[in-house]
């Protein structure tokens, strides 16, 4: 079962539609810019942010390098505190476990805390097939669920909806699920929130089963942590008699003390707050306080495969803050739906394909949903080098190689549709190694430059589906260099500040230094550009 939604087209096709949606782009621009500016302020308050960020990355690395140890420690602690631990290798297993646990309670309804993991495995749909109604209780998730829609942002999932649409969704749909929207509901945000409060309170007061994820699990104490704003999480975590938490295996942290890092990093990175309104922590079950039965479902679903990839492993540090979405120029324009899974934005572009083992055409397109500008890496509170992983995954798409798929080392073939690109890259590598051929090719291209079409024909067409063919200059850089510096001129020989337009006046400066002329030979020339091909 794939992490991506059924039937989702590759990213460029989906994005082609969404970038034309002006309202969506306006909403996204407003949202991402507002949150990113506020975040910068919240982060600037802490002079030790860089040290916290480094510690956050290191704690996660320690955990990941010894994940088996910490999972067993966590299991022991949760069990000792009165909880029951289940292990799910994939989405199907996790859904089966949760369905069985709900059935055992005899209930047909559950209330849910917003959780990425349960979205990832499609739990609501699985429960529905089993005749169990799952009610999302986060305001945005409620809007998404009532609207029969997909979330488009990790933190504010209904950011693509405006208040008028939300009012219509509430008026038309709330009554089908429970208490209808009040008569005369306007589109004022406070009124809409009040309608949700009334609608959901009925659910909370009667719910017998709650389902959640968790932001952190503390191995040494068996404590789970949920960070939220609205209080729907507290409702689901404390009022029902049975609580089932579905949590990815990478969410474990070694010690209670480690939370001092993440409870500073997460709220400031995510909502740009000093602290989010509510954080709940619980350890197993507590006499007369909260659920009497607690189940923890530990979810793999591609995480161990991601762990096996030494470059991709860092992806599992992610604490789902969504800061990378808010700074990403691609996300800002394409929107969350184009990423085709619950994980949009830069983190989605590296997480989804890895969890999925590049299963779908969407998966192999996601590593390209980036300009590699690096803003995501810069804001990431656990220092995930997203561009590095993107490039690594592109390599896997184009060249194939070995990867771990459902626990097995597997040789993966290059993805379909990348044969032409691979051939072109091979040809480029050869040409850069053979300067004479390169020079001849460049001159030919310059002379024929007016004939180059905007879209390439034949096997090159796929490449130009998403790119413009670069303009061919009248003269290649190498020819310009030779013409203005002479055949013996090389880098470092005095022309550092020169630009093509200055070539005439600069040419005589060359004569002053010939000390590094060895760089001008053919071998030296070939090294630089060939390195850039990667």
């Amino acid at each position: 079962m794939s992490v991506t939604y059924l039937g989702m087209p590759p990213f460029p096709q989906a994005a082609e539609v969404s970038v034309r949606d002006e309202r969506l782009r306006r909403n996204l621009r407003h949202a991402t810019h507002t949150i990113r500016d506020k975040r910068a302020g919240a982060v600037a308050e802490l002079v030790d942010w860089a040290a916290l960020r480094a510690a956050g990355a290191q704690i996660k690395d320690r955990t990941l390098r010894h994940l088996d140890h910490y999972l067993e420690q966590l299991e022991g602690a949760v069990t000792a505190a009165g909880g029951t631990v289940h292990w799910a290798a994939d989405a199907r297993e996790a859904n089966e476990i949760v369905t069985r646990l709900v059935r055992e309670t005899g209930e047909r309804e559950v209330v849910k805390v917003k959780s990425m993991a349960t979205q990832e495995i499609g739990l609501n749909e699985a429960l529905e097939r089993a005749g169990i109604a799952a009610y999302e209780t986060d305001l945005a998730e409620l809007i998404v669920q009532l609207g029969d829609d997909h979330p488009s942002h990790i933190l504010v999932p209904a950011i693509h909806r405006n208040r008028g649409e939300i009012r219509e969704i509430f008026r038309e749909r709330m009554g089908r699920w429970g208490r209808p929207a009040p008569d005369g509901l306007t589109d004022a945000p406070a009124e809409l929130a009040e309608a949700a409060r009334l609608h959901l309170r009925e659910k909370f007061l009667t719910a017998k089963v709650g389902i959640s994820g968790a932001n952190f699990m503390v191995a040494e104490s068996g404590t789970l942590v949920v960070v939220e704003s609205e209080g729907n999480g507290r409702m689901c975590l404390t009022l029902p008699e049975t609580l089932i938490s579905v949590v990815g295996i990478e969410k474990v942290v070694p010690t209670w003390q480690d939370l001092e890092v993440f409870l500073q990093l997460l709220p400031r990175s995510s909502t740009a707050e000093r602290m989010n309104p509510y954080t709940s922590t619980w350890t197993g079950t507590t006499e007369e306080d909260g659920p009497r039965t607690f189940h923890l479902v530990l979810l793999d679903n591609g995480r161990s495969d991601t762990l096996a990839d030494r470059v991709g492993r860092q992806t599992l540090r992610c604490i789902r803050c969504s800061a990378c979405l808010n700074v990403c120029p691609v996300y800002e324009r394409a929107g969350g739906h184009a990423y085709g899974s619950p994980y949009p934005g830069p983190i989605g572009a590296i997480l989804t394909p890895q969890l999925d083992s590049m299963d779908t055409g969407l998966d192999t397109s996601l590593p390209y949903a980036s300009s590699l500008c690096g803003a995501c890496f810069e804001v990431c509170p656990v220092a995930i080098d997203i561009p590095e992983v993107l490039v690594h995954l592109r390599e896997r798409v184009v060249q194939g190689g070995t990867a771990t798929v459902r626990g097995q080392r597997t040789t993966v073939k290059p993805a379909k549709g990348h044969a032409a690109e691979r051939a072109a890259m091979r040809a480029a590598t050869w040409a850069f190694d053979h300067p004479r051929a390169l020079r001849a090719g460049e001159r030919l291209a310059s002379r024929a430059r007016r004939l180059v079409p905007r879209r390439l024909p034949g096997p090159g067409r796929a490449w130009t589906d998403t790119r413009d063919v670069p303009a061919v200059p009248p003269e290649s850089f190498r020819d310009w260099w030779r013409r203005t510096r002479g055949p013996q001129g090389g880098p470092g020989s005095g022309g550092r500040g020169a630009r093509p337009g200055d070539s005439d006046s600069d040419s005589d400066r060359n004569s002053g230094s010939g000390d590094s002329s060895a760089n001008g030979n053919d071998k030296g020339d070939g090294d630089g550009p060939a390195g850039m091909v990667r």
Binding site: D48, R62, R65, R201, S221, T238, L239, Q257, R274, T279
Partner: protein
Amino acid sequence: MSGSGSRETVLARVRRALADVPRDERPEQVKVARDYLRVHGERTPRERAQLLAEHLADYRAHVHHCSPAALPRTVAGLLALRGSRSVVTPPGVPDAWVPEGMRHVRDSAALSPRELDAIGSVVTGCAVAVAETGTLVLDASEDQGRRRVTLVPDHHICVVRVPEQVVDSVPQALERLDPARPQTWISGPSATSDIELNRVEGVHGPRTLDVVLVTDDAAETESTEDSEGAEDSEGAAGNGAPPRG
């Protein structure tokens, strides 16, 4: 299906995935540099309480100061201002905190969520308060009660003993807390920005949060009102305010 079969599968996959980690490497050998700050700035107890009050008010909690002797009067005033006729308290809250004539319900396991929903206000103590973040932590001690009592009623009055319950920072708070106890960290009343990023206070938790800072050196007289926006009537608050998660 589930159970030990998948347990072994997942653990075996994780172990195979970590083939590059030397067998004799122990977790503690993976370096974690804790060279971040324990506190962000040096403060006197008075400055610490001041910062707590500012940060609580930033997130629309209403902050009040009083002496121990004036506490019952302060609480009575807040309940009257709110118009509450019933109040629930955990077992450890002194009777004296709740004014005469008020319907006073002691929390117990027998109290259902629906019964709690019919109660106007809740009065509790706290375990620790964090100045740098404007956070109150409840850990289900006798004067804080079960997690649900501070959740279902729409008005929460939380009493903080100053200076002994106030710390500067998140690291200091965690040191004082026992993970075995269920905890609720509260930073302002519940809020959402899910609709066009407009901040709305109060979706599910208490929509009004009153924090009473009790100090020996506070004036014995009336409570003082610190926060702006205290006059906001609940429900209408926050319209057009800057967004927050």
